[in-house]
């Protein structure tokens, strides 16, 4: 493989991110808007690397209070107990539903971590112009976009437990600030995955140098 593969950017064609139409802009510096749907055209998402880094770093910082602060506080006649995400998982495990405990652990604790670590890995490899495992990295990116939403799980759990258990003075549950940080992490990681441009993975042109697979 000595010939460069025909990517849109190399042959001067730009693909619309809204409707998928491939068109040849009048000037490559200023591609203008899509002739079919009117969306602003760009060969690559603008400032993709900087924006994604900023969102990844912000989400990583918020991930700490999200896990340290309580998400729910249960008050009964005799006692008050504050639960973080992790202690909630342990409580679920202790009451015998280890399947649900595992689901919450994966969705709330592991998915955000994996997503942040994987985005950082994609960013670093793109910045270094790596030509290794491009197909795997492309697949990793698609996986990240699909799983991110599941970390909202605990926000919903808290919402409905709080909504139902309002039997004052017998028993009541109030939400804690962990929920706020948790929701923020989910929003930021969704935006982070959206601002990354997967085409950057391929722009170092590994195939031509025989580096891939």
């Amino acid at each position: 493989m000595s010939r460069a593969l025909p990517t849109g950017a190399r042959v001067g064609l730009v693909s619309c991110e809204a409707c998928g139409l491939l068109s040849r802009p009048a000037s490559p510096e200023n591609p203008g808007s899509c002739p079919r749907c009117g969306e602003v055209l760009a060969f690559r998402r603008r400032d993709a690397i900087q924006r994604t880094w900023a969102l990844v770093i912000a989400a990583s910082i918020l991930y700490l209070p999200a896990n340290i602060l309580p998400v729910m506080t249960t008050t009964t006649l005799r006692s008050t107990a504050a639960d973080t995400i992790l202690s909630g998982v342990l409580r679920l495990y202790a009451t015998g539903s280890w399947v649900l405990a595992l689901i919450v652990l994966v969705a709330s604790v592991m998915i955000p971590l994996v997503k942040l670590a994987a985005l950082a890995y994609l960013l670093v490899t793109v910045q270094r112009g790596s030509i290794r495992r491009m197909r795997e990295r492309a697949r990793l990116y698609r996986l990240l976009k699909a799983i991110g939403r599941w970390s909202m799980l605990d926000v919903f759990v808290a919402t409905f437990v709080v909504a139902l258990i309002q039997l004052r003075p017998l028993m009541s549950v109030t939400p804690g600030n962990g929920v706020l940080f948790f929701a923020a992490v989910v929003i930021l990681t969704i935006f982070a995955a959206d601002s990354f441009d997967p085409r950057l993975i391929w722009d170092s042109g590994g195939e031509e140098r025989g580096g891939d697979d």
Binding site: L5, G20, R24, G38, M152, L153, A163, V186, P198
Partner: protein, 221 residues
Amino acid sequence: MASRSADIVACPDCDLVQRIPPLPPRGSARCPRCGRPLGADKPGSLDRTLALAVAALILLFLANVEPLMGLSAAGRETSTTILGGARTMWLQGEKVAAVLVALAVVVAPALEICFLLAILLAARRPPAPRWVGTLLRWTEISGVWSMLEVMLLGILVALVKIASLATVEPGIGFFAVGALVFLLAAISATFDPGEVWARVRWANGDGPWPPEGSGRTEAQR
């Protein structure tokens, strides 16, 4: 075979320019370089999706007005709807989470389904007006923030958590959400946005690109 410009695309994930060959019935295409799905043959896409979307609209209504679950403890009974959950969070001071919950499971799914209905009705007679393209874009964005399936699992976990404290029972709303999640999955399997895009009137007023297709190109899809 004449080259059809509508079949030439650049992969959204790796920018490889390629022609999508005519697909066999129910066949699908993937990018040979990065493996991204690039399209699928979905027979009767617009009609089937319309039927599913109408059903989804009815279930969406049920899911929002009927109680999700009820609880009885020490002779007292309470129940909550989806919006009731968001409202309690708001009253308890978690306003950001309350807004996010309302957006993710009430506003986004409602917009997604209503936009889709409008698109499908307007696209039945090509050329479809330009706002159909705008709505398609908004449908896609609503889909990203629509998290009913996550909420369904969240309700299950909440039910188990509460079960150790009191007697809980899922309500009609819960089953409506379950059916709605199933319908939304069916909609994403049958809906082909490309078919709608091919019917939308172009923003620049002069038909498809490149000019050698001269107007016939979009009609052939």
